[in-house]
């Protein structure tokens, strides 16, 4: 079109007011994060306190353990300390409940089940790596062989995790921290007593018993985690 005509046309007619501009802008899809990007963003929202205390517990435990001579002393010490990790996990996992953010979180695209799954996975993997490191560092000090060594160290930890999650699932949110704290300390002390007074439990003959306990507690723990993630974390649905 001739430039002149264009110019004339423009000055002759006013451009119509844009209609439904708002509706048009609203209809434009905004760029969305992928599940992977969401996962990464959630890593940053696990409290620093959790990472620091976990590491502190681990480093302290390792340094102290290297001072011990006998494999049985080391395993006693490690299995007494590890259950304390559970307390850190529980406070981190149940923070939506304790700070009443769950309802808001659950109404989002990535809902509370997904958020909890991510928190659980990240914490689980982190603690698993810590456990592997512990086992690796003391692999030679052990008179038990790796399998029994792992069973003795990890089973009490699993037990305290199971009980803590059971408590979270069955008690009011504001009471759980104290009850979990009590139970965890009780388990730590019990393990210590077992090591000192019932050494026969750590004989080769009982390995099958330990393995059975390990499997049974794992199954129970998974059941509690599943219930927490899909039901209990929505605390407003419970009276």
């Amino acid at each position: 079109m001739n430039r002149n005509i264009k110019h004339v046309l423009k000055s002759a007619f006013n451009a119509p007011q844009p209609t439904k501009k708002e509706a048009f802008l609203n209809s434009l899809p905004y760029p969305k994060a992928t599940t992977y990007e969401f996962f990464l963003s959630q890593l940053g929202y696990i409290r620093k306190r959790f990472w620091c205390l976990s590491l502190l517990l681990f480093v302290g435990m390792t340094i102290f353990s290297t001072q011990l001579k006998h494999g049985s002393e080391i395993i006693c010490f490690i299995s007494t300390i590890l259950p304390l990790l559970t307390l850190l996990t529980i406070t981190e996992i149940s923070k939506s409940m304790s700070f009443h953010m769950g309802e808001l979180e659950d109404s989002c695209r990535f809902n509370l089940s997904k958020i909890t799954l991510i928190r659980l996975s990240v914490i689980g993997i982190f603690h698993f790596v810590i456990l592997l490191l512990v086992l690796f560092i003391f692999r030679d000090n052990s008179q038990y062989g790796l399998l029994r060594y792992a069973l003795y160290a990890v089973t009490p930890f699993l037990l305290s995790s199971y009980l803590s999650f059971w408590i979270t699932n069955h008690f009011k949110a504001k009471d759980t921290t104290y009850i979990c704290g009590g139970v965890t300390i009780f388990i730590s002390l019990s393990v210590f007593t077992l090591h000192s007074n019932y050494t026969e439990l750590y004989n080769q003959n009982y390995t099958i018993l330990w393995a059975a306990a390990f499997v049974a507690i794992s199954i129970l723990l998974i059941k509690e985690l599943y219930f927490l993630m899909n039901e209990r974390i929505r605390q407003w649905n419970f009276a």
């Binding site: 905004y30 969401f38 409290r47 700070f99 309802e103 808001l104 109404s107 695209r109 958020i115």
Partner: protein, 289 residues
């Protein structure tokens, strides 16, 4: 755009909180009115997919309430909400934005824009701990809008807002209701009188009325009377009719009440308001409180 609620019920042990409620919503502002315990929060939670109905279903444009796509179209302000203690207002918005699946740059942009709208720009970096009730409520409204939701569910959004904030809130809601579904609950009549296109009245888990303000008021049109009588007559009238308002005026008592016919020869018919209707329906509850 249509939100279909089909015969949903919610039962808690032996309490039926929502009772076979059906409702179709298209764009506009809906005011959900009901006394405490009427089931407003329970209904809204089911619409947001955070409580499972005992029976019935909720769908938006064919999407089921349990789908991720549904939640992507949803903004929700719960009746009560908390926050992680270390959060500033801005941290809170970025966190919510990440859960809603916004990218980082989108989150920044949207937070800035919304903080302007709810006047929190100056305190964006302050800890939420230091906020007043009204500021926290405005923050809650802002987060609900982060993903530009098609369905906006606000549970008692005006709680904690001062009169000035209320006016601004109403303007914002009217604007938002033009091209989306806004459902807000309240037990304060004046909150919905001016902004809701449709008023929903809920009682004992059921929807007892639904319609525009004028339609709803029709129910008690010509049934509201005022009179000033001596104390003895007043006692009789109070026993016989639902009383909406009363105050003593010297020797006498002023009464505003609902009746099918003239309750007393001095009574005069006055025009009904939504407040009258509300008080009429919820008078027992108010007496109990």
């Amino acid at each position: 755009m249509e939100l279909c609620i089909d015969r949903i019920s919610k039962q808690y042990k032996n309490k039926i909180a929502v009772d076979r409620l059906s409702l179709n919503l298209t764009s506009g502002v809906y005011g959900l009115l009901g006394a405490n315990g009427a089931g407003k929060t329970t209904l809204m939670r089911m619409i947001c997919g955070i409580s499972k109905p005992t029976s019935g279903e909720v769908k938006f444009n064919g999407m089921d309430v349990s789908e991720e796509r549904y939640r992507d179209a949803l903004g929700y302000l719960p009746q009560d909400f908390g926050y992680y203690p270390e959060f500033s207002a801005q941290d809170f918005m970025y966190y919510m934005a990440s859960l809603k699946g916004l990218t980082k740059s989108q989150a920044k942009l949207k937070t800035k824009e919304l903080f302007e709208i709810v006047s929190l720009t100056e305190v964006a970096k302050k800890k939420i701990k230091t906020f007043s009730g009204g500021m926290k409520q405005r923050l809650g409204i802002a987060q609900a809008l982060l993903n530009n939701p098609q369905i906006l569910v606000l549970d008692e959004p005006t709680a904690g807002l001062d009169p000035k904030e209320r006016v601004r809130f109403r303007n914002l809601i009217s604007e938002l209701g033009k091209d989306r579904i806004v459902l807000l609950s309240t037990h304060i009549v004046s909150d919905v009188e001016n902004i809701a296109n449709t008023i929903l009245v809920m009682k004992n888990g059921q929807l007892i009325h639904k319609g525009a303000l004028e339609e709803i008021i029709m129910i008690i049109k010509d049934k509201v009377f005022e009179c000033t009588v001596d104390d003895k007559t007043a006692e009789h009238l109070i026993a016989a009719y639902p009383v909406i308002n009363m105050r003593s005026e010297g020797e006498n008592t002023f009464l505003r009440l609902v009746s099918d016919e003239k309750p007393h020869h001095t009574a005069v018919n006055v025009s009904a308001t939504l407040e009258d209707l509300y008080l009429y329906y919820f008078s027992e509850v108010i007496e109990n409180e």
